[in-house]
Symmetry: C2
Subunit: 197 residues, 2 copies
């Protein structure tokens, strides 16, 4: 059984799922297919040109507190990023490449840890290069492949696919055709896979 896991580097709640999904899914005997995508086009279609957590400050205040509490519950390190949202485009292009090459989960966890635990500027190419190098991969070669037209197009196609499927935010999980939105629906998504067919 496979769970599709769609995430976007600017999504705060995706941090929780990124850090725990492999462990939780393994217990359930489920494989995870990681798919980075960009929320920008989806938010723009709703008339938002910034994170809704910035547009609606009361929502933002609550979200940061909730995220901090949930990270503590899961035993995850957390430091509120001094800048939010950070530009995740380059990281998403590398992650898209990494899905094809089989090293997406560890790269994604490293980027999220940099952003949400170490407060590093993941929008900087130098930081992305450093994270790639820490995966024992050559940053020059990886970035060249990540910025190749076919890889950029694959990431754009994922964003289009997300719109078609009715995605409204991240993280989003697909379990046997059912869509679940939010880290707090991970258990529901896994339970859906385990239903009698």
């Amino acid at each position: 059984m496979t769970l599709e896991f769609w995430y976007e580097f600017a999504s705060t709640y995706s941090y929780l799922t990124v850090m725990r999904i492999e462990r939780v899914a393994a217990v359930a005997g489920v494989d995870v297919r990681w798919q980075p995508f960009l929320l920008g086009p989806i938010f723009a279609a709703q008339g938002w040109n910034d994170s809704p957590f910035n547009i609606y400050p009361a929502k933002g205040t609550y979200m940061w507190r909730d995220l901090e509490r949930r990270a503590a519950t899961y035993g995850l390190p957390f430091r509120r990023p001094s800048r939010f949202p950070r530009n995740g485009l380059l990281a998403a292009r590398v992650a898209q490449l990494a899905t094809a090459e089989g090293w997406c989960p560890q790269f994604t966890r490293a980027v999220y840890t940099a952003n949400f635990a170490a407060d590093r500027e993941i929008g900087d190419e130098a930081v992305v290069r450093e994270i790639v190098a820490a995966q024992d991969r050559d940053p020059d070669a990886v970035l060249a492949r990540a910025l190749a037209p076919e890889n950029k197009q694959a990431l754009r196609a994922a964003a289009d696919e997300a719109v078609r499927r009715g995605v409204i935010g991240a993280p989003t999980l697909f379990a046997a055709g059912e869509m679940f939105w939010g880290d707090d629906r991970l258990d529901d998504a896994l339970a859906w896979l385990g239903r009698p067919g």
Copy 2:
């Protein structure tokens, strides 16, 4: 220990909490203080003059499916209301009165069941009267007290208090000063009360 439970009759996810909170809190040894309030002023401050689930149709589509799944998980009857949102002002005024008189939970469950399981028009005074009568209370006397200036003012004060506390939606739970938003945070709120002090 007491959990404050703030809800609004137009809130769909509040249905889940309304129907299960007494049972779940009792297992945790926690008392529940019910507080109806109106989200209208809070949504208006964000520039919304309708439910965000209507303003953003993709969010609405997802919410109804998620609500249906969660109701099934909890064993709750559910039928998508043919009209949404329904005007909950009169019901909220009666519920505000009922908090003072000690019959709020059963009245609130009856209104939610009418709206979300029986698809009845809870904005109609006749339906509210019928629900009050089913509580073995005199509808004329109850409505007179519910529409008295001091009761209407008490409900307005609750809405003001919600804004002051940073409430962003419903259901909202307060546990020892901590705010939790959403039916899916009920367990978190109860766990917060049980933390070592």
